[in-house]
Symmetry: none
Subunit: 162 residues, 2 copies
Amino acid sequence: MKNKRLRLQIIVELIKTNCISSQDELSRLLAARGYVVTQATLSRDLKQLRTTKVATDLGNYMYIIPDSNNLQDTMLQQGVSTAQAGQHSGFVSIQFTGHAAVIKTRNGYASGLAYDIDMSKSPEILGTIAGADTIFALLREDVTHEQAMKVFARFLPISDMA
Amino acid sequence: MKNKRLRLQIIVELIKTNCISSQDELSRLLAARGYVVTQATLSRDLKQLRTTKVATDLGNYMYIIPDSNNLQDTMLQQGVSTAQAGQHSGFVSIQFTGHAAVIKTRNGYASGLAYDIDMSKSPEILGTIAGADTIFALLREDVTHEQAMKVFARFLPISDMA
DNA sequence: GTTTTCTTTGAATAAAAATACGATTTTTTT
DNA sequence: AAAAAAATCGTATTTTTATTCAAAGAAAAC
């Protein structure tokens, strides 16, 4: 039970280097490496890692690691990685209005932060535009401020708005 | 049987603008728009469109269109013209939220396209701001998404998103 | 026009994935 | 250290997704 971190890491490895089309298949590969877990656990692991199954060019499905940024975030939450957290110290404030958020940063920090938000490809965020110290982020219509906050919290040094 | 193309197009629309977590849910949304198909068909459609289901930040799952480039390939194979040659080849996607539109372009194309939109002086569009690959366009309050779409269609290689 | 071939689809089913629940372990708080 | 809270995970089950098979429409070939 103590080696979930290593397991997640190995899962990422396996998915990156193999063509895995089901959780049972992954389970077997893991078992071969000494990690015996059930499909239920893998379902939870894959959800946490935000892997997805996509159709391959010919007929089959395979799991992929969708985006290395997202992954790293998730892994960091897990305490997996060595890299220091990429939380933005330039952050100043965030406010919402309608389907938009206005994020203030220290001068010069806006575009970097906006880039990170873009790269996360969070479906809740339709897009961002950054000036020198301000970011406008437009939210999908059905996304509440609270939900959006949770997304932004991944990038901002906000204690925990939950 | 001949309206598979339209159906695929609408599926893409629905997935982009809604938080859909199962094929049955999608089936219901489609039915509300007059397209009655079984889950089996949707499974095949989603495979063809290469959509995937990902975990959201809030513990649920939702379908997404993974990547506009890939998507476009797939759609074109189907003959679903989201984008064609000519006009603005930098165009990637457009989405609405509230009285705003978010237009994604290939990197570097946003300001050129925004300029063209500005220059048309369409009364429906109050103004635009462009970053490197994103345009925010604010719409007059009484303008519907559909109406705005018609305006943008003059600049974008979009067949007819109705 | 007819035959052949390819595509599309639903019903039923198989396969795969997600979760409710409970047990156990770890972590945190007091 | 004890108690409380949180995390991990398996079993069994539910939910969701993919595919098999057959039928029927369209397209192509003849």
